[in-house]
């Protein structure tokens, strides 16, 4: 009798709590953090992949407009989370809708996404991403994504309801919009710090990883079962370009080789480095991101037309 009463009261209390927790969890949205919404949206037919450069630059809605589609989704994270490797590929497989047939996959590449800062750059068991959200989030398409919120959300849960971070917004299509002061002094300061970090710290820490390089190929081959894959190298600040050219002088050759082997088209936009605005020497400003997205969209259209023409000729 006493036990029954205890169990009933405890269960009722717990149920009330769990319902409240659930109601709070469903408040999580694009303001929650830079990654959550990517794990809280349905599986997708077309994906944009890469690191934070791709996350902040490539706008799915612009591409969708240009390509007359509605299914592109930006599934890019950061160089720590989504450098190419087994973890990222596994997560891509979870995010991809297996019904996809004519999907479009834009793989953004740069020297850092095929490098590793571990002692042995080819030891995949010590890759940084194994400790991060992409590795530990099994379910990438449920809302609310309680597993992610409990394990990886690093603020207090009251932040889900109050005090949203208004400087950042992760859109439903996966594009990460960051709003920072763009006066010349702020931009210069951020650029200086970022370039210094890359030059003085990351250049020596990051080394080319043949494992990651092979996983770019594996990722392409996997995605080719579901649609068309395109390789893109996004524009970077000229100072960053200098660092990258020194870091991996044969980067373009490597990517051309992949493109040739896998028969995918490769767009290298680094010729246009000086034409755009950067927030910190590493990431494009959203206005420039829009232009870059349009360029990519038009290039894809062109490639599609070429393919159609070739097929007609045959």
């Amino acid at each position: 009798m006493h036990m029954k009463r205890f169990l009933l009261s405890s269960t009722l209390f717990l149920v009330i709590l769990l319902i409240t927790f659930y109601c709070i969890f469903i408040q999580a949205d694009g303001y929650t953090d830079p990654f959550y919404l990517r794990f809280a949206t349905p599986k997708k037919h077309s994906l944009i992949l890469g690191t934070s450069r791709a996350a902040q630059t490539i706008m799915p809605r612009i591409l969708n407009q240009t390509l007359s589609r509605n299914d592109l989704f930006n599934y890019s994270f950061t160089v720590g989370h989504s450098s190419y490797g087994p973890t990222y590929l596994e997560s891509i497989k979870r995010k991809l809708n297996s019904d996809a047939k004519k999907g479009i996959f834009i793989i953004s590449v740069d020297p850092w996404s095929i490098s590793s800062n571990t002692e042995d750059p080819n030891d995949s068991s010590s890759f940084e991403e194994l400790k991060l959200a992409l590795s530990g989030t099994r379910f990438v398409n449920c809302k609310p994504n309680i597993q992610y919120l409990l394990k990886y959300y690093d603020k207090r849960f009251w932040n889900l309801i109050f005090n949203p971070d208004s400087t950042m917004l992760l859109h439903d299509d996966g594009w990460f919009e960051l709003t920072v002061p763009m006066d010349s002094a702020s931009v210069e300061e951020r650029t200086k710090i970022r370039i210094q970090d890359y030059r003085n710290i990351y250049s020596s820490q990051y080394k080319f990883s043949s494992v990651r390089f092979n996983y770019v190929i594996q990722t392409i081959k996997y995605l080719q079962n579901f649609g068309t894959v395109y390789l893109v190298r996004l524009p970077v600040h000229p100072l960053m370009m200098q660092i990258e050219s020194k870091q991996m002088p044969d980067f373009n050759d490597k990517i051309q080789k992949i493109a040739g082997e896998t028969q995918v088209d490769y767009l290298d936009m680094t010729d246009l480095n000086s034409a755009f605005t950067y927030v910190d020497g590493n990431h494009l400003h959203k206005d420039s991101g829009k232009k870059v997205s349009e360029i990519i969209g038009n290039w894809i259209m062109e490639k599609k037309s070429d393919l159609t023409r070739d097929l007609n000729v045959q």
Binding site: H2, M3, S9, F13, R156, W158
Partner: protein, 495 residues
Amino acid sequence: MLFNSIAFAIYLPIVFLLYWFVLNKSLRTQNLFLLVSGFVFYGWWDWRFLLLLVGMAVSNYFIGISIESSETERKSKSWLIIGLVVNIGVLCIFKYFNFFIESFIDFIYLFGYNLPHSSTRIVLPVGISFYTFLSISYIIDIHKKNLHANRNAVEVLLSLSFFPIILAGPIQRPSTLLPQIANKRVFEYDRAVDGMKQILWGLFKKVVIADNCAEFANQIFNNSAAYSGSTLLLGAVFFAIQLYGDFSGYSDIAIGTARLFGFNLMRNFAYPYFSRDIAAFWQRWHISLTTWFRDYVFLPLSFAISYRMTKERILFMKSDLFIYIVASILTWFLTGLWHGANYTYIIWGMIHGLFLILYQWQKKPRKKLLKRIGLNNDNPFVVLTETFITLAIVAVAWIFFRANSIEHAFKYISEIFSSSLFTFPQFHGGINAYIALLFSGIAILIEWFGKEHDHPIAGIGSNWPKTVRWAFYYTIAMSIFLFAGKEQQFIYFQF
């Protein structure tokens, strides 16, 4: 397994339901189940150190029987010594090996010799200081004939590895736990409900108070050279709150959990920060440890010294005071050393020892002074002043507890008492710092109004309508969920 983890939230109801519904027919099976559950709980952290725990418990089981069944007192004492060597030896190897080696190297360096530093780093098994002390009290109590050596291995092993207390106490002596283990437990609604309340309050103190304060205490202590005196003072306050919230919170969860299974454990904290003197503080802080040291170190040492004392006065003081001083110094040296393999803990212990000695010495002069100025002992001004002084002493001593080195501690304290003490504290805190301070203030108020009870929310709301009472508990639970700070390991796990 941490108490504030999802794993424990799943583990506890499963163990609870199996314990009361499936295995309650046989006491033996119930005890065996609790024992195995305890091994799962402990082994969740690292199964290799589970072997150490089991090995220690089994050894002490046999040593206890050997002590009791010895034909002569001498043989019994020999077994006791073997048991002490085993227990203290294991503790020394795992906890103090690195410290002793480094101290030896530093000592030799004073003579101009440079020995290479050891690259061997022994991992400290969680809870070793606690279960070693359980084992020591078991065999000593048997030797002193305060406890019968139980032949039931499951019961003995369970008393030495009971899961709620195995990681960080309370140090519930087998002499008080074994009778509860050996007798059938009956589910009591009030005890279970009170246990749940205590768990809730413990979680609040740990997750909301301690973990939030830890963020700022760590920030300030880890970069103390960059901060003003006022900020360092605030850092010391944050740490004092963190330590209390963390440790008393853990104890509350442990005691509350045990109550769910029908066990009554000793109280471990009795609102120590409301103490008006250092002696009262140590009657209320980590009670299980201080009583352990009192019963197994201080008192035997005092008796041993007084037995050899022939004179009434030594070194210009009465022999009683001399005995008290010597026994206190040694006891507090060991208390400090128990807390950690670092000189900072030893200094911390000695500071408390010194103030306890001063407290004993000042009793009579204080009485005379109060009489002379016409204030009685319960005068609010006197109470407040003394409470404040006690808190200040404790908080300054905590600085040694938290600092990385003795040098760091002294620098920290000297910077507090500099001219920058009178500036506004500045650190990276934002709204989270205000949340930490706000909740700390709320917790202090709740503890003040509930201080007549074992835990403050035991009595709060007992006269309220059920819905209001539930709303109160719901608010605490929601605070835990919404305002939980970044997860920090329980501080006492490192001991």
